[in-house]
């Protein structure tokens, strides 16, 4: 039972996770280690401590109230995210399914597209 095929295919995911953690951690460790050895100069200034945002000067504090209209997009995302759950088993069996399955999924997606058209029609997707 050691490392059967099922877990072996998740080895890639495990490697990915290890690399994703190791790269930023090793960067910070290297920076810290260099400063210990004396290779990294240490000259802090006010400009260096500023928040960097695309070369623009950052205005305001860390928190500003976000436009409420973002929430519309969040709701649309959540609904269509749930739709993906139903697309997933259908997609894994797509080649062996018949035309009926394609039509059924078209109806399924079509009904949800009504919601998208509704949001579009009601100008929820525009910035007032």
């Amino acid at each position: 039972m050691f490392l059967d095929d099922y877990f072996r295919q998740y080895g890639l995911v495990a490697i990915f996770c290890v690399v994703a953690v190791a790269v930023p951690v090793s960067m910070m460790l290297m920076s810290w280690g260099m400063s210990r050895v004396g290779l990294r100069p240490r000259a802090p200034s006010a400009v260096k401590a500023e928040t960097y945002e695309c070369g623009m000067e950052a205005i305001g504090g860390k928190w500003n109230l976000f436009n409420f209209r973002y929430y519309m997009f969040a709701i649309l995302f959540v609904i269509f995210d749930v739709e993906v759950i139903f697309l997933y088993p259908w997609a894994t069996k797509f080649l062996s399914l018949e035309l009926f399955a394609l039509i059924e999924m078209a109806v399924f997606v079509g009904i949800l597209l009504i919601g998208w058209a509704y949001a579009w029609r009601k100008r929820d997707l525009e910035w007032g």
Binding site: M1, F2, L3, Y6, F7, Y10, V13, A14, G61, K62, W63, L65, F66, F68, R69, Y70, Y71, M72, A74, I75, L76, F77, V78, I79, D81, V82, E83, V84, I85, F86, Y88, P89, W90, T92, K93, F94, S96, L97, F100, A101, E104, M105, V107, F108, V109, I111, L112, I114, G115, Y118, A119, K122, R123, D124, E126, W127, G128
Partner: protein, 217 residues
Amino acid sequence: MLFQDVVFWLLTVVAVGSALGVVLIRDLFRAALLLVAVFVAVGGYFVLLNAEFLAVVQVLIYAGAISVLIIFAVMLTRDVQQGNPPNRLQIPAVALAALLLAALVTVAVDTQWSFLPEGERQSVELVQTAAVSDISPETLEQAGAAGESAAQGVGLADLLIGRFVLPFEAVSVLLLAALIGALALVRPRPAPQDARASGAESASESAGAGAAGSEAD
């Protein structure tokens, strides 16, 4: 077996540590991000339990959608930089959490994990790895879809577009209703008539309010 144990304990450290962070950290936004870490770790548990489909659902719905909603709610809240101040509900919350924990532990101890009855074992199979593409004939029979068992493997998709096609389409109608209802609730109200007449400046503040007003007719 060793490999799975190592992964399990790693996931447990991440899940429990992040869950403690969610409760203890005062910065609400960081707490929300740690909640995402908890969701992803639980997805890892599902993978360990051979429940791949549930893992996909967990990552897509919880780590994707639910966390987006929570983070948006945090970002749209005023005075959120005050963090997570202690309040009067602390003692009731502790009592409620203790009750929930007691219920969960009772169920976990009371369940005969190694000797699930035959029927329940098969319904467990529906969420496991093979269910996406292959479901055993016994499980199909139990799900009331015995006729579907063809020579090739029958998966969730075959059930969705076969026996359960009507509920499947009803789900899309339900999602549509949820979408339209949520949008209708969230949409900014049109400005009241008298307010619009008195202050023209406030009307120019948001053209969307005027557009919404014309649609309300």
